[in-house]
Subunit: 397 residues, 2 copies
Amino acid sequence: MPVSPADLDGADRLSAFRDRFVIDDDLVAYLDGNSLGRLPKATQERLAAFVREEWGGRLIRGWSESWVDLPVAVGDELGAALLGAASGQTVIADSTSVNLYKLLHAAAGVRPGRDEIVIDVTNFPTDRYLVESVASARGMTVRWLEPDLVENVTPDVLATALGERTAVVVLSHVDYRSGTLLDLPGLTDAVHAAGGVVVWDLCHSAGVVPIALDAAAVDFAVGCTYKYVNAGPGAPAFAYVAARHLADARQPIAGWWSAADLFAMSDTYETSPTIRRMLSGTPSVSGILAVQEGVRLIAEAGVDAIRAKSEALTAYAIELLDAAGLEIVTPREPGLRGSHVTVRHAEAREVAAGMIERGVVPDFREPDLIRLGLSPLSTSYAEVAAGVAVLVDCAAR
Amino acid sequence: MPVSPADLDGADRLSAFRDRFVIDDDLVAYLDGNSLGRLPKATQERLAAFVREEWGGRLIRGWSESWVDLPVAVGDELGAALLGAASGQTVIADSTSVNLYKLLHAAAGVRPGRDEIVIDVTNFPTDRYLVESVASARGMTVRWLEPDLVENVTPDVLATALGERTAVVVLSHVDYRSGTLLDLPGLTDAVHAAGGVVVWDLCHSAGVVPIALDAAAVDFAVGCTYKYVNAGPGAPAFAYVAARHLADARQPIAGWWSAADLFAMSDTYETSPTIRRMLSGTPSVSGILAVQEGVRLIAEAGVDAIRAKSEALTAYAIELLDAAGLEIVTPREPGLRGSHVTVRHAEAREVAAGMIERGVVPDFREPDLIRLGLSPLSTSYAEVAAGVAVLVDCAAR
């Protein structure tokens, strides 16, 4: 007899974390935590207290008392808990796009004399668009990888593009459509063997897949915090620069927050010797505090425990989808996938709309994909069961 | 007999607006609204409701239901109420630094064949640093204006730098140190007569000085919202591109939010034909909502009424400072100043620290300046009187 979702939830060591989030009872299932994570109750309280006491009460004094250090302090917290990054290499600020733009320039700059940026055609649009923009501005060439969507960037696919011209390789740790999890250490080694540097986009893995940037000798990384970090719509992103590159990593959005002395208002620009050089303008204080709360929830649960539940949740979803005969795009080997499961259906747009009408929120991706994002801290097995049941029903119409 | 501050407050038609802000009774006077504006009560409620109902309740559906249009919708509101800008020319997103970076590239791009960017040495650091960065990246030359701090950039000073090589001129509407208000229409005309385009930094004027960008045929403008717009620490900034430049205005941070179809996830990048092309990554939703509340307060009061009180408040401060024999840097002609009054004192740092100890918050600026920022919607005459009295006392020690 198959195990019931209630039994699975009963045996789930992380099940209590679901109560730490605001859960809307009007929804049958929220399966889009990989687009926008749920609201942690602690964040709701923290933001209200920040507005009331810090902005309203401390006013400008808040900057010198604590806010000015937040981009690096919370960057360090996120780096330690989520990225395997020692302190002084991670900042929280701006959007993923803006940070990626900065990192691309910085990465190209540490490999002068090389003129190719490598990226795959399956990568997220903002990554592809920004690579084209930066390559064009720097007189570089974009070398396109054309992997299969599901197998995605394997060592063999990457090898076809690497060579003496390789300056920078841009890869997404988890593919935003198929959910395929790339071999971060292995691909990083391959880029290094060719003499290039790598920029990892961790948007779909940060907080849900164990990551060890320092151990893998990753050069640069970027990611958002509104997915599995649960920091809210448009929350600031993170940027990581390996300590060994800091002295040479120059980014062009040289605003006052990137200067060696923020308040000196110097006549001449001197870039900060620390990771603060990746900042530009005044960052959102409330945004960074929401990131901090999200990071603390993850640190409390532990990324390894989160990953274990993620593998089990996705396996459970795949089992239910298989039983209904739906086409699954996501790799079946747990070690090869992140935390979303993607279904291909000829009428995906209509199926997704039908699901939403019935209180199940998935994510539609052009032209024929439905993503089910399973966020281990807030998604229950019962939710997966209920959500997939509605998907199966809508898909059968 | 001199008029008492209580009488002045009694006659103030905007006095009721002070009750619309959270006022910390522990402070004798908050005179730094030009660094960080006070917290509007409506914003406190709006942010709590947003977190609870929109993020917590609508989750990802919020994007399609309303959030995706916010950068332009609130940009239009701000443009109409504060900038004299018709719709479709203003967006809210990113920081001032990031937006200025984008506008500098866009501005340089609409004047191909010209290779000089003009900026004054008195301009705010981030403006100077970014001009240097963009000029370097584009192979352009920075032409430095060296005005007197107080007279600042007059038509005569500007004329020395304009010519056939002038591509872009970057000016701050109100000087962040002296408080000098520049002649925006006249200087804009002069730049145009030379064949260049102008980028106005409105950080210290937006919301407190009447601005008519369309009427003055301004090309590009940028500004923050955490000063007189009262949108909170690190709130997103605005960027304005005149409609006639939109088709040619290209910026390099070509993230997905700048694409013609945000959710098409196209293989090739096509920039949005609208002002959305100035966006990059996912903007902070709560940040934009705080901007909207701040803008609505200003629209309700009216910028002209705010300006009238600003002139009266600064005149009152100058009168009190004069009576104490302190050195005032800010122009005495009301039409030549913004909404802060700056005092020069050999021991400015110690004086400012002493004031803060006694519950009066000014702003210290290297090496010898103390700024008193008077924000008409939340600053009372009584507050000015009490604050200046403490300044005078501390300065006399």
